[in-house]
Amino acid sequence: MTSTSVDTTYTYDDLAGLMSLMTGDEKHGFAATSTLDVLWVLYDRVLRVTPETVDAPERDRFLLSKGHGPMAYYAVLAAKGFLPVDWLSGFGSYGSPLGHHPDRTLVPGVEIASGSLGHGLPLAVGTVHGLRARGLTGPRVWVLIGDGELDEGSNHEAIAYAGATGLDRLHTVVIDNGSATHGWPGGIAPRFAAAGWSAVTVDGRDHEALYEAFTTPHPGQPHVVVARVEKVASVEPARH
């Protein structure tokens, strides 16, 4: 699968239109997407990966662990030329590679197949270890999870381990839209910090604040950015 001609002029303002190709909803679904700003800032300014380097050993890895509601992810990948824009309208259909949960074997640039919650962080920990064992110390590994996803115990195995072992190539973004049923009394960032992580909490819609948080130095520690966004009552696909 190769991309068709890439329009490199896509900007953040084009994402609503790209998403509407999947949702058929011009504005509402767009505004309700909790991950959009984080994804855009990462792919636009932080991640060192391009459509030409999706298989390069030295690329940064971005693992979308929160695989449900992937329209913003596909839109950003299309805007950046990883996949053809004309794939978007087929979203979820039998002949389309774009499912309601992404599949790494079907979509260029997608690092993991996700959907079942709580798999991304352990896979990211293994990826960090694997790159280090190969002597590839440059690539950074990013994983995006949600505050609801954080309920899954597998995350806490990975958080405790990565903090204790100081995996400083590991980066996590937690999209906090208040969707965890029992909440996180005491906050999310302090839990990571207590496990030995560098942790910051920012406005998940503020691109400059996100960029600053994403690029904060964190020597000897894994780094988490908790991106707070408005709590929405939108109907996202089922959690599991």
Partner: protein, 298 residues
């Protein structure tokens, strides 16, 4: 003679020295055998603590980064507890690795059901593309471990046991090994079941096949042993009874046949004691096997 677990540590330590693409992941079990290898290869011997979801997920991540992971703990934690990680972090990601278990069925009888996984082979068999090895001797375990690691990006499960046969047998290229020939039926003995089976069928006019690789299932080998019939087949497996019955049934679909699947029953024994007592308790000792095979063939 060393145990299969000891042979696992020495064999894989050597593999780590020779192949920079390999890495071992542990979860506080079996760590003593890798102390020296861990000192020599700190980036490729990883102990995650008592965290089995992370154990298997981390293994999948290593594979995504281009390594050949060797993931080890007791079967009850490796397969049962972390089954979704086995399913998704290897199979669904489209990557391979080697899972090596110990203590699966009744190897630690005094430990009880919390440390037993008689269903491991059947569980893995619900997934696509896994090779499953069940060695019956430490020498066979070494051969099969080397083969598993060398098997490209394949997904391979290696089931190590405390129970062993007295002598090793040649490890075939996946096919069942004919051990003796008879005319009244075919008994397939899997891994550590062989000695008990041979003892049980002494003087009976039956063929015996020895299986150390159970998936893929050597249907051609079974058909060859059955020949023109009678197609009366007894499977003796050191894990859940009937695990390979459907595979044998598929292999013999061209002719009328009968299959008796012997192994560990679903019902919990809820006894402690010794390995031999457990084998007798689940009917896999030579005396019980002879009675069950004879009754089936008559």
């Amino acid at each position: 003679m060393d145990t299969m677990r000891e042979r696992f540590a020495t064999t894989v330590s050597g593999i780590l020295d020779a192949d920079p693409r390999t890495a071992v992941v542990l979860a506080d079990i079996g760590t003593a055998g890798f102390e020296k290898a861990g000192a020599a290869h700190p980036d490729r011997v990883i102990n995650v603590g008592i965290r089995e979801q992370l154990l298997v997920g981390l293994g999948g991540g290593l594979a995504l980064a281009g390594l050949r992971p060797i993931v080890h703990t007791f079967a009850s934690f490796l397969v049962d507890r972390a089954f979704e990680q086995v399913k998704l972090d290897f199979g669904h990601q489209g990557v391979g690795g080697v899972l090596v278990s110990a203590n699966a069925s009744y190897d630690w009888p005094a430990g009880g059901m919390t440390h037993m996984s008689p269903g491991d082979v059947a569980l893995i068999d619900t997934l696509d593309g896994w090779t499953q090895h069940v060695p019956g001797h430490p020498d066979e375990a070494e051969t099969l471990l080397r083969r598993a690691v060398a098997a490209g990006n394949d997904k391979v499960y290696v089931r190590l046991s405390a129970q062993t046969n007295a002598e090793p047998h040649p490890v075939t290229c996946g096919g069942f090994l004919p051990v003796r020939e008879g005319r009244r039926g075919v008994v397939v003995a899997v891994g550590p079941m062989l000695d008990n089976v041979l003892h049980a069928v002494e003087g009976l006019d039956v063929s015996v096949l020895y299986a150390t690789t159970v998936r893929p299932f050597d249907g051609a080998g079974l058909r060859s042993a059955v020949g023109a019939g009678p197609a009366d087949v007894v499977l003796v497996e050191p894990y859940l009874a009937g695990t390979s019955t459907s595979a044998a049934n598929d292999a013999l679909g061209h002719m009328p046949h009968r299959i008796l699947g012997l192994g560990v029953p679903r019902q919990e024994l809820r006894r402690y004691g010794s390995l031999d007592e457990h084998l007798a308790g689940v009917g896999l000792d030579p005396r019980s096997l002879r009675r069950r095979v004879t009754s089936f063939l008559n």
